[in-house]
């Protein structure tokens, strides 16, 4: 508690809007009729389905295996029947469909036999723990969705500090807060497991100072778990104190290098939700199939729900007393960093922390708000607010001019898209939209560059091949001419001519053979053939 705190530059103070959803206790959302599980809920390659349409699956059963390299498996959230494996609307700012597994639930919620069996993890090695965490499909639940097992590997013992992030600085979002209120001891145990996997002894839990109750509960849990080495730190309530890089800077005074990872300075940062999921997976053999989600905004009863992953958003809105018919906008994530959904039938995924309904709130900027932008007056307020020490105004000009080299010179890729610049902008310019546009376009251009390089190689080879073939043909002709020149006598020539004519005749005879595949044609195919014949005849006449 006595740790000296540092400050990060910038940041804004926002109205919290957290009380609405924290007054009522957390309840478990009902099992929906349909569970939709996208195959790509994490950063990395999509999972590969291992079930077929029509299969009956049980709660906790693996239905999609992790793909190559960076990936995470997906488990059935409840028991039921697979009705489809197809493209469905997923929570993505584009609103485009992506492959999903759809389960029609049977309401019995039957689990696989080993589900929920307690076990002792102390004897497991770091390697085994990581593997268990990977098999449980755990990804970073703070929002990024990076497979957690990769952040629990301590290569060459470079990592010295593990930070557990319970800051949750964005307005409205309260799922981590409620998780700490209900499961403080599990979170501390999860942290101990992570520590064992990383083989380090320095751990910090960070909580914002607007959550005194949770701070006290966590302190008690640390005492109960006999984990005095865990440092519990209270950080000031500034947005975005919960950003990974900002939190690290605040706690240690160290800055994560530009375009680098916290790992580069010997730190890993996990979310409290991830720690809880790790406890469930390691101690109780329960894979990641549910999570806490805040439902707030224009609903009769804003609260935190424990939701099965794959539950449609509309189901949650109805459960909290929202009227689906009057919805104008649903945002997934918080008001600062979330995105508007195109469809309320999309499922919640592993990284969903908040559903914000119909938010007509004037004191926070909302993603994809109406275009009321006015010209930039170059006031510089954005630069003062930027927590990443960037120059948002310069980024804006260059992104707007589509000067993608320049925008990268100004470190566009260090932007965390927190929305602070957007929030303070007196001209209401949707700055983050410009940065997102520039980032995604640059990524796309890089991908196209790789493809065009392949095309260039193929074209060069094509030209080479044409050249080679030409040479070979010339060579052959030369040889033939030589051969003909050698057989100078009249008889030989005649014989050669005879042989050639024989060959031609044979070939012609062969061509008269009817193709084998024109028997038993349907009417349509015959018509097509006739059409083709007619076209060919026309073409010949034209010539």
């Amino acid at each position: 508690m006595m740790r000296r705190l540092f400050n990060f530059s910038g940041g804004v103070r926002l109205r919290e809007h957290k009380r609405e959803s924290t007054v009522s206790p957390v309840t478990r959302a009902q099992i929906p009729e349909k569970i939709i599980l996208p195959l790509h809920q994490h950063i990395g390659t999509p999972a590969r389905p291992v079930v077929n349409v029509g299969d009956r699956v049980l709660k906790g059963q693996i239905i999609a295996k992790a793909g190559n390299n960076v990936s995470a498996p997906i488990h059935a959230s409840t028991s039921g029947t697979i009705t489809a494996i197809e493209d469905c609307a997923i929570p993505h700012p584009s609103g485009l469909p992506a492959p999903c597994i759809i389960i029609e639930t049977d309401g019995r919620d039957e689990a696989v036999s080993h589900y929920g069996q307690s076990r002792d993890y102390h004897s497991l090695t770091a390697e085994q723990l990581r593997d268990e965490i990977k098999q449980a499909g755990i990804v970073g639940l703070g929002g990024a969705g990076f497979p957690s097992y990769l952040k629990l590997e301590n290569k060459d013992h470079k990592i010295t500090t593990l930070i557990l992030n319970g800051v949750e600085c964005e307005p409205y979002i309260t799922c981590d807060q409620m998780l700490m209120r209900n499961h403080a001891i599990d979170i501390v145990n999860g942290l101990k497991i992570m520590q064992q996997a990383l083989e380090i002894d320095h751990c910090i839990i960070a909580i914002e100072n607007n959550k005194p109750k949770e701070l006290e509960l966590m302190q008690e849990a640390i005492y109960e778990a006999e984990a005095d080495h865990i440092e519990l730190v209270q950080v000031p309530t500034v947005y975005p104190a919960g950003g990974e890089k900002q939190l690290i800077q605040m706690l240690t005074g160290k800055e994560v290098p530009s375009q680098g990872l916290p790992m580069d300075i010997g730190i890993v940062c996990h979310n409290v939700g991830t720690a809880y999921a790790v406890t469930r997976a390691i101690e109780h053999n329960e894979p990641l199939i549910s999570r806490y989600i805040t439902v707030a905004g224009s609903v009769a009863k804003a609260k935190v729900l424990e939701v099965l992953i794959g539950t449609p958003v509309s189901h949650l809105i109805e459960e909290c007393g929202g009227n689906r018919k009057t919805l104008s906008r649903v945002i997934m994530g918080g008001p600062m960093m979330g995105f508007a959904l195109h469809d309320d039938e999309v499922p919640v995924v592993k990284t969903t922390n908040c559903i914000l309904v119909n938010s007509v709130i004037s004191d926070v900027p909302l993603p994809s708000r109406s275009n009321a932008a006015m010209p930039c007056i170059r006031c510089g307020a954005c630069a003062e607010a930027c927590p990443a020490n960037l120059l948002p105004q310069q980024l804006y000009w260059y992104a707007r001019a589509k000067d993608f080299d320049k925008v990268q010179d100004y470190n566009l890729f260090d932007c965390i898209e927190c929305g602070c610049c957007d929030y303070v902008c007196p001209s209401q310019i949707p700055l983050v939209q410009y940065y997102r546009y520039a980032k995604s376009t640059i990524w796309q251009q890089e991908k196209e560059k790789v493809l065009s390089d392949i095309s260039r190689q193929r074209h060069e080879f094509h030209n080479l091949r044409i050249e080679r073939e030409k040479k070979e043909r010339e060579q052959r002709h030369k040889q033939k001419r030589k051969a003909v020149a050698k057989t100078s006598s009249q008889d030989d020539k005649k014989a050669a001519i005879q042989a050639a004519m024989e060959r031609v005749r044979k070939k012609r005879d062969q061509e008269h053979v009817q193709p084998k595949n024109i028997d038993d044609l349907t009417e349509q195919q015959r018509k097509l053939i006739e059409e083709v014949e007619a076209r060919r005849k026309n073409k010949l006449e034209d010539l």
């Binding site: 010209p375 080299d405 095309s455 195919q525 083709v532």
Partner: protein
């Protein structure tokens, strides 16, 4: 006298060897400017620029024979990149060479294909697979969407199909410039406001003008 001649001759030999070695050791492969231009071009090899492929077009630009706005597949992005490289002003795409379209791939209707191999010969990147009197098919990943296989097909069985955007290839929309009415309002309040956007691309200005006249 003789010593002088000998000394100079020895020097000439030494320098000759040094220069000869340098010429081999530090040889510049081709014209680096052509390479740089070629790297920017989209490598569709479609010939819409009137040159037989991207590299000949790059060579023509380097020589100053061709303008930088003749590449429809590359579109605005390529023109801006070329302008940047060559230190020229970007200009809108020359409509004589075609217009910028979404990326497409060729698809052969296998029911209609007669196996004539004409498209295979036309394909600049060898992305069509087949043999005489055998059905042909396009390797989608390698197809650049150049349209060159369309004219030779005697049975018109090749279609150009737009590539559908997926969550992996999707990009955020450009948030747009100021709405027309607001921009004019700004002009009225401060006449200089219209001139201060020096960093904004001239292409956008022309395109917004175009939409303005249409409206």
């Amino acid at each position: 006298m003789i010593t002088a001649i000998v000394a100079l001759a020895i020097l000439a030999v030494i320098f000759g060897l040094a220069l000869g070695y340098a010429a081999v050791r530090f040889k510049v492969e081709g014209d680096p400017l052509v390479e740089k231009i070629d790297a920017i071009l989209p490598q569709t090899q479609c010939g819409q620029c009137t040159y037989p492929g991207c590299r000949p077009y790059a060579e023509a630009i380097a020589k100053g024979e061709a303008d930088i706005n003749q590449c429809p597949p590359g579109g605005e992005t390529t023109i801006i990149a070329l302008a940047d490289l060559l230190g020229r002003d970007p200009k809108p795409l020359n409509p004589e060479h075609g217009e910028e379209k979404a990326k497409r791939v060729a698809v052969i209707d296998e029911q209609v294909c007669i196996g004539c191999t004409l498209c295979i010969q036309a394909c600049p990147v060898d992305a069509i697979l087949g043999a005489a009197k055998q059905m042909h098919t396009v390797i989608e990943d390698e197809c650049t969407g150049c349209d060159l296989c369309l004219p030779p097909c005697p049975v018109d069985c090749i279609d150009m199909v737009e590539i559908k955007s997926t969550t992996d290839t999707w990009t955020w929309d450009f948030p747009g410039n100021l709405p027309e009415n607001l921009a004019s309002l700004a002009n009225r309040v401060n006449p200089a406001a219209s001139n201060d956007d020096k960093t904004s691309s001239p292409l956008e200005e022309t395109s917004s003008k175009k939409t303005g006249t249409e409206a």
